[in-house]
Symmetry: C3
Subunit: 157 residues, 3 copies
């Protein structure tokens, strides 16, 4: 059983995650993770075959922050905008009070001509902890089905 | 903090909005707005650049209703069907008891040959009020990422 | 009014449904239905025109199970993976304690080269019952907008 306060906090966290990326508030997006977080992007193929390769790995929040900084330097002009649509999470209570959450996402992009396309689908596998009534990502592993794409990691998924 | 009754009412409103458009119950869809509502569709580009141009604006529910009437006259045959998939809303309580809600959407269309495609992605920026335990749109601003499309406003987004 | 325990149980069921198909846990997926369930896939066109044709019909859980068995035999190699993104359900309480739920879905597929595409959009029309605090599908009618596709029913929608 997961208390409704936790359910609400998780729903808020999921919505906030999409909001902060899609509005290009990446510096604030970083604060949705715990200091000792793990943030990882992995192709589904590698998970299925037990291969170790990842597309991106950050072993704590500082590394997530560095990632944002390098994006800011590398991409002087924003060439696309993101739009996440995330399904309801599958929740599993953990003995230590944290919650495992798995949710599917579809990520769309739009270019400066106003043309949109499906960019990536996959799922989030999270460990969510609660601090002062708020939910934070202790772990977010993004499993991407769609890996046959150029410039995959221009912005976070 | 947003009480769970309000959260439920908002979730119901969001689902009802999609349902009434996608089932072509547009006359009932109008009743999801308050009498003094604002309903507006704006390209994201214009919002980002502070440009005043809108794709559609209705300054009250009567204007929303007129919009439906003109659709009924203009489109004698329904040439496509809509399907909205809407993400969980990001909620912010307001001092006056209303709630601001922001949610991403993907809108798909299907033609009479049964072929579907991505029609539009974007987000809803709402002010939601509560009357008799029900949630209504006092304001719904649709920010469309996808504006490079023909016949954009055949049906509401 | 629908109690929040029921709402939570329904949200869990929806997430679980997507999870078990998308992870290819089809044998477990069967257990989300009641023994006397109805599971049916119908083109939207047929519903609109009152035509009787269905794409798939299972009149109880044994038939759902048989369907999975035949899939396992027919598809020795998994040639694509599924990813469901499901919107919030529109809920209607029934006199007998069950709940009718209608939710839109977008189903994406990805091939072994990591390319993803929109496969099907439509909606679920469910009758949900509750057993021991858990929600189960007494009825799930899948109305598919997208019927102009090859190998439609390789895996469940």
């Amino acid at each position: 059983m997961i208390a409704s306060e936790k359910r609400d906090a998780i729903a808020d966290l999921m919505a906030e995650y999409a909001y902060r990326i899609d509005r290009d508030k990446l510096e604030d997006w970083v604060n949705l993770f715990t200091e000792d977080c793990l943030y990882k992007v992995v192709p589904r193929e590698n998970v299925a075959q037990g291969l170790p390769g990842v597309l991106l790995i950050c072993l704590n929040r500082n590394m997530v922050h560095d990632r944002v900084t390098s994006l800011r330097v590398a991409n002087e002009y924003n060439i696309h905008v993101d739009r996440h649509v995330i399904g309801a999470p599958r929740l599993t209570a953990q003995a230590d009070g944290s919650v495992r959450a798995e949710s599917n996402y579809a990520l769309f992009q739009t270019n400066q001509e106003g043309e949109s396309w499906l960019f990536s689908v996959g799922c989030y596998e999270d460990v969510i902890v609660f601090q002062g009534g708020k939910a934070l990502f202790k772990e977010r592993v993004v499993i991407v089905d769609t890996y046959a794409i150029p410039n995959l990691l221009a912005t976070p998924i």
